[in-house]
C-alpha cells in the first residue's frame, strides 16, 4: 500500500499541463466568440427571427426543434470567416488534448495510490472538472454552442487552479471508513452528476443574458446577440439536468446505503447530506417549474443556477468550513 512517488509526480505534471492547455483553449474560444462567425451567425439569426416574427402569417417555420437546420441555412447566407472558425476548432482540439492530459493525471494518481483517485478534495475537483469538460465536448458536438466554450472553461480553470494550489494534497492512502467499494460507486456518481450539473448552470446564466436582451434589446446589446437562441440554451440546460438529476439521486441513494454500513444510519442530517438534500430539492423544483405556468423560462433558469450554487456551496463551504462526517477534504 505504499504510494508510488514517481507516478504521483507525473500525475501532478499532467494536471498542471492540462490546466495550462485549458487556459490556452479558453483564449482561443474567447477569440472565436469575440470575432468569429459563429457569434455573428447567431446575431444574424436573431435579426432574421425578429423579421420573421414581424412578418408573421408567412409559412410556419419549424423552429422549435431543429436549431441545427436554421444554422445551416444561415451559414449559407453569411460569408464564412475562416480564420476565427479555425481558431475555434483549434480550441476544441486543445480542449481534447487537455482532457487527455487531465485523464492521465487522474489515472496516474490512481495508480500511484492504488485506489480510485477521489479520496480527497483535490482529487475530487480534478475528477469533477474532467467530467465537466467531457460533458461539454459532447454538448459542443450536439449543439451549435462551440464559441461559448470559453465561458464553460472559465469555471473549470478556476476550480482546477484552486484545487491545484490551495487544496493540493500529497498522494496518500485513505482512512478506514473510505475503504469500501461504495467509494467507487457513491463518489463516482456524485462526481459525474456534479460535473454535468456545471453545464446547465453555465447555460442558464447565458439564458438569462439572452432573454434579458430579447425583452429589451438595449441590454447586453453587444454580448447577447452572439449567444445561441434562448431555446437552444434552455434545451442544453434541460437535457443536461435531466441526465444529471437521476445520477445525483443515485449518488445520494448509494451514499445512504454506505452510511448505513459505515456510520450506523442511512440518513443523519450530516451537513453534506443536508446540502445534497437541498440541492436535490432545488433541482426538483427546477423540473417542476418547467410545468408551472409563469415559472417557465427565466425563473426556471434562475432555479437551475441556484441549484448549481448549492452544489458549489456543498463542495467548498461544507468541506472546508463545517465539520461533519464527510470531512475528507484532506485540507488542514
Amino acid at each position: 500500500m505504499l504510494v508510488n512517488e514517481t507516478l504521483s509526480q507525473y500525475s501532478d505534471w499532467s494536471y498542471t499541463s492540462a490546466t495550462a492547455i485549458y487556459v490556452l483553449a479558453l483564449v482561443f474560444f474567447l477569440i472565436e466568440q469575440a470575432f468569429g462567425a459563429k457569434g455573428r451567425i447567431a446575431a444574424e439569426r436573431t435579426r432574421e427571427r425578429a423579421r420573421e416574427l414581424v412578418g408573421a402569417g408567412g409559412p410556419p417555420v419549424s423552429e422549435s426543434e431543429s436549431g441545427t437546420s436554421s444554422t445551416t441555412t444561415s451559414t449559407a447566407s453569411v460569408p464564412a470567416r475562416g480564420r476565427y472558425e479555425r481558431i475555434g476548432r483549434m480550441g476544441v482540439a486543445l480542449m481534447v488534448l487537455g482532457a487527455l492530459l487531465h485523464f492521465s493525471a487522474l489515472t496516474l494518481r490512481g495508480l500511484a495510490t492504488h485506489r480510485l483517485p477521489w479520496g480527497n478534495m483535490y482529487e475530487y475537483i480534478m475528477a469533477v472538472t474532467f467530467i465537466a469538460v467531457v460533458a461539454w465536448l459532447v454538448v459542443v458536438k450536439k449543439f451549435p454552442v462551440r464559441h461559448l466554450s470559453g465561458f464553460m472553461l472559465l469555471p473549470v480553470v478556476i476550480l482546477m487552479f484552486i484545487g491545484g494550489t490551495l487544496l493540493y494534497t500529497v498522494a496518500a492512502p485513505v482512512q478506514p471508513a473510505l475503504q469500501s467499494y461504495w467509494l467507487a460507486i457513491h463518489v463516482t456518481a456524485a462526481i459525474i452528476a456534479s460535473g454535468i450539473f456545471m453545464i446547465p448552470g453555465v447555460a442558464s446564466i447565458f439564458y438569462l443574458f439572452r432573454t434579458a436582451h430579447e425583452r429589451n434589446p438595449e441590454k447586453f446589446a453587444r454580448f447577447a446577440p452572439k449567444l445561441p437562441p434562448a431555446d437552444v440554451l434552455d434545451r442544453v440546460a434541460y437535457r443536461a439536468t435531466v441526465l444529471a438529476f437521476p445520477l445525483f439521486t443515485f449518488g445520494v441513494l448509494c451514499g445512504a446505503i454506505w452510511a448505513e454500513s459505515a456510520w450506523g444510519r442511512f440518513w443523519g442530517w450530516d451537513p453534506k447530506e443536508t446540502t445534497a438534500f437541498i440541492a436535490w430539492v432545488v433541482y426538483a423544483a427546477y423540473l417542476h417549474s418547467r410545468h408551472t405556468a409563469g415559472w417557465r423560462g427565466t425563473r426556471a433558469a434562475v432555479i437551475n443556477i441556484l441549484g448549481f450554487a448549492v452544489m458549489v456551496f456543498n463542495l467548498f463551504f461544507i468541506n472546508l468550513v463545517t465539520t461533519g462526517l464527510h470531512s475528507y477534504a484532506g485540507v488542514g
Binding site: 500500500m1 426543434e65 434545451r235 439521486t249 450506523g264 444510519r265 437541498i278 415559472w295
Partner: protein
C-alpha cells in the same frame, strides 16, 4: 368590516349562505394547496428551512458544540434555541413544511392517478385534419400503392399504440402514441417518495441506538436492557424493554497505521450469540470492521473506535489490594492520547465519614507511545510501545455517594474546588512502576489494555425505505428519460388514379424539450424511402 356586514347585509340567499362559503373556502384552499405553484413554493421553503441545519450546530448530532454555541451567542443563541434552530429537522416549522408538501403531493397524485387510468385505456387521438400544422411534418408522393405504404407504416409502428381509421375517399390514417411509461414512472416516483417519507417517519418511532464501551479482553455485552449501555437514544415508541436479545464478546482489537500515523484499518475479533444460540450458549465468530457491521437479531453492531484502559493496583497499608482496568477517553485519535480517572473505594471502611477522606482517584494522561520532555508526557504514536501514564493521585471525597451522576472519565471538579479532594501525588509512571503515598498506600501501573466503542442500531423500517428509494430511482429515470410522443400517418391515393400515393407524416412531442425531432425524421424517412435504415 364586520360592523358593516352585520348592519347592511341582507338575509343571506342560497348563493352566499354560510355553508356554501365554507365549502368554497375549503375547495379553494384545497385547490391552492394542491396547485403546482404551491408545491414549488413549498419545495423552496423546504430547501430554505433545511439550510440552518448545515450552518448551525445541531443538538442531536453534537450536543456539547450546540451548548457552547448558545452560550457564546447570548440572547441571540437563546432565541435561536427557542425557535428550534438547533434541532431543525424535528422542529415544528420544518415538520409543517414537509407535511404540507405531503398533502400537496397527495392532492396532486390522486387526480393524476385517475387521469392516468383513463389515459391508459384511451385510444390515440384522431389524426388532425391538417397534419401540416404539426411541429413535425413530412409529405411525399410515392410510387407504391397505398395498401403497400399503409402496411409498411403499420409494420414500422409495431411497438406503438396505434389506431387505424378510414377517412373519406379511400384515405386511411394511423394515429400512434408511445412513451406511456413516462407517466407510469412519474407516478411511481411520487408514490415511492410518499412511501419513503412514511417509512422514514415510522423508523424514527421504532428505532433505537445505543453506544457502549467494552474491554477488548473477552468481556461481554448483552443487549438485554438499556442499563447495559453508556448512552441510549430511543425512538418515540421505544421504552427500552423488549430489546432484541443478543450478546457480544470482544476478544481483541487491532489498528493499523501508516508511517504518518494515519489509520489504515481497524478490526476487532468478536463472538456473538443470538436466537437459539443464547440458550445453547454457542458463540459465532465475526470480524468486526469499519464498513462491515455485525447484523444479527434485527440489529446492527458497529465498531466506532477504540482506546486504552490502564490497569492500576492499589495496595493499602493494611495489605488489602484492589486492581482496576477502566477505560480512559481518547482525546486525540491520531496519537491515541488517553485521559481519564480510575476511582478506588477503600475496602473495609464502614464509617462513611472516614471513607470520604480515604477515597482515591488516579487521574491523568495515558500515552501509548510516550515522549517525555521536561517532565511533560505526550504521545507521539497511537500504537502501544512501552506506554506511560502521567498521573495525579487524588485522595479524599470523590462525591460518589452524593447522589449526582459522575462521568466515568473524570472526577467531580467541585469536590476539588471545595477542598474535599486533594492531590497527594503527581508522577510519570512506566509499566511496572509505582508510587507510594505518604500514608503508605502504594499505587502501581501494571499495564494497558484496549477497549472498543460499539454502537448498536435498530431500525425496523430501513429496508422498506431502501425499497422505496430504489423504486423512486427507477420511476425517476423512466419519467425523465422516456419521451411521450405521437405520430400520425395519412395515406391518400394520388389524384388521377394510378399507383401513386401521397404519404403525410405528422409528429408531436408531448413532453417539453424532449428532442423528438431525430426520431421523427428517422421514421418519416424510412416510410418515405420504404427501406429500413441499416444500423
Amino acid at each position: 368590516m364586520t360592523a358593516t356586514e352585520t348592519t347592511t347585509a341582507p338575509p343571506p340567499k342560497y348563493r352566499d349562505s354560510r355553508l356554501r362559503r365554507v365549502l368554497a373556502f375549503a375547495r379553494n384552499t384545497w385547490r391552492g394547496l394542491t396547485s403546482m405553484r404551491t408545491a414549488l413554493i413549498l419545495l423552496f421553503l423546504l430547501a430554505l428551512a433545511a439550510m440552518p441545519g448545515t450552518l448551525l450546530p445541531q443538538r442531536p448530532l453534537n450536543p456539547p458544540k450546540t451548548d457552547q454555541y448558545i452560550a457564546s451567542h447570548g440572547w441571540w443563541g437563546t432565541l435561536l434555541d427557542r425557535l428550534q434552530f438547533f434541532n431543525v429537522y424535528s422542529s415544528v416549522w420544518f415538520s409543517a413544511i414537509y407535511l404540507l408538501l405531503m398533502v400537496s403531493l397527495v392532492g396532486c397524485l390522486l387526480p393524476r392517478t385517475l387521469e392516468y387510468y383513463r389515459s391508459m385505456r384511451a385510444k390515440p387521438v384522431l389524426t388532425p385534419r391538417r397534419l401540416s400544422r404539426m411541429p413535425h411534418f413530412e409529405q411525399a408522393r410515392l410510387d407504391r400503392s397505398s395498401d403497400e405504404v399503409f402496411a409498411a407504416a403499420r409494420a414500422r409502428l409495431k411497438y406503438w399504440r396505434t389506431v387505424e381509421r378510414d377517412e373519406e375517399d379511400g384515405t386511411r390514417s394511423i394515429s400512434a402514441e408511445r412513451g406511456y411509461l413516462r407517466e407510469t414512472g412519474n407516478l411511481l416516483f411520487h408514490f415511492s417518495l410518499l412511501g419513503l417519507i412514511v417509512f422514514f417517519a415510522l423508523g424514527k418511532l421504532y428505532s433505537y441506538e445505543g453506544q457502549v464501551i467494552v474491554q477488548a479482553d473477552g468481556s461481554e455485552f448483552c443487549n438485554s436492557g438499556i442499563l447495559n449501555y453508556d448512552s441510549f437514544t430511543p425512538g418515540l415508541r421505544v421504552d427500552g424493554t423488549d430489546l432484541d436479545p443478543f450478546c457480544i464478546k470482544v476478544n481483541d482489537m487491532y489498528a493499523e497505521y501508516t508511517a504518518a500515523n494515519e489509520p489504515i484499518a481497524y478490526r476487532s475479533h468478536i463472538q456473538y450469540q443470538s436466537g437459539a444460540d443464547l440458550q445453547n450458549n454457542v458463540w459465532q465468530p465475526y470480524l468486526l470492521e469499519v464498513n462491515s457491521p455485525l447484523r444479527t437479531a434485527g440489529d446492527r453492531v458497529y465498531l466506532l473506535g477504540y482506546g486504552y484502559s490502564p490497569t492500576f493496583t492499589v495496595t493499602w497499608p493494611n495489605g488489602q489490594k484492589r486492581s482496576q482496568t477502566i477505560q480512559w477517553a481518547t482525546t486525540d485519535t491520531t496519537t491515541e492520547l488517553g485521559e481519564g480517572a480510575t476511582k478506588f473505594d477503600p475496602p473495609g471502611i464502614t464509617d462513611p465519614m472516614v471513607r470520604r477522606t480515604k477515597e482515591l482517584a488516579v487521574t491523568g494522561l495515558l500515552a501509548p507511545t510516550p515522549q517525555v520532555q521536561n517532565g511533560i508526557l505526550t504521545s507521539i504514536a497511537p500504537e502501544l510501545n512501552h506506554p506511560m501514564v502521567a498521573v495525579d493521585v487524588m485522595q479524599g471525597d470523590l462525591g460518589l455517594d452524593s447522589g449526582q451522576t459522575q462521568s466515568i472519565f473524570s472526577i467531580d471538579q467541585t469536590m476539588v474546588d471545595d477542598g474535599r479532594l486533594k492531590r497527594v501525588a503527581r508522577e510519570n509512571l512506566a509499566e511496572g512502576q509505582s508510587i507510594t503515598l505518604a500514608d503508605g498506600t502504594k499505587i502501581s501501573f501494571d499495564g494497558v489494555q484496549k477497549w472498543v466503542s460499539l454502537q448498536v442500531s435498530h431500525d425496523p423500517t430501513q429496508v422498506y425505505v431502501l425499497v422505496c428509494a430504489i423504486s423512486m430511482l427507477v420511476g425517476l429515470g423512466a419519467s425523465l428519460l422516456i419521451k411521450r410522443r405521437r405520430v400520425w400517418i395519412r395515406v391518400t391515393p394520388a389524384d388521377g388514379g394510378g399507383d401513386g400515393t401521397v404519404l403525410q407524416v405528422g409528429g408531436l412531442a408531448r413532453t417539453d424539450q424532449a428532442g423528438y425531432g431525430e426520431e421523427f425524421n428517422r421514421i418519416a424517412n424510412e416510410l418515405i424511402s420504404g427501406e429500413k435504415r441499416k444500423k
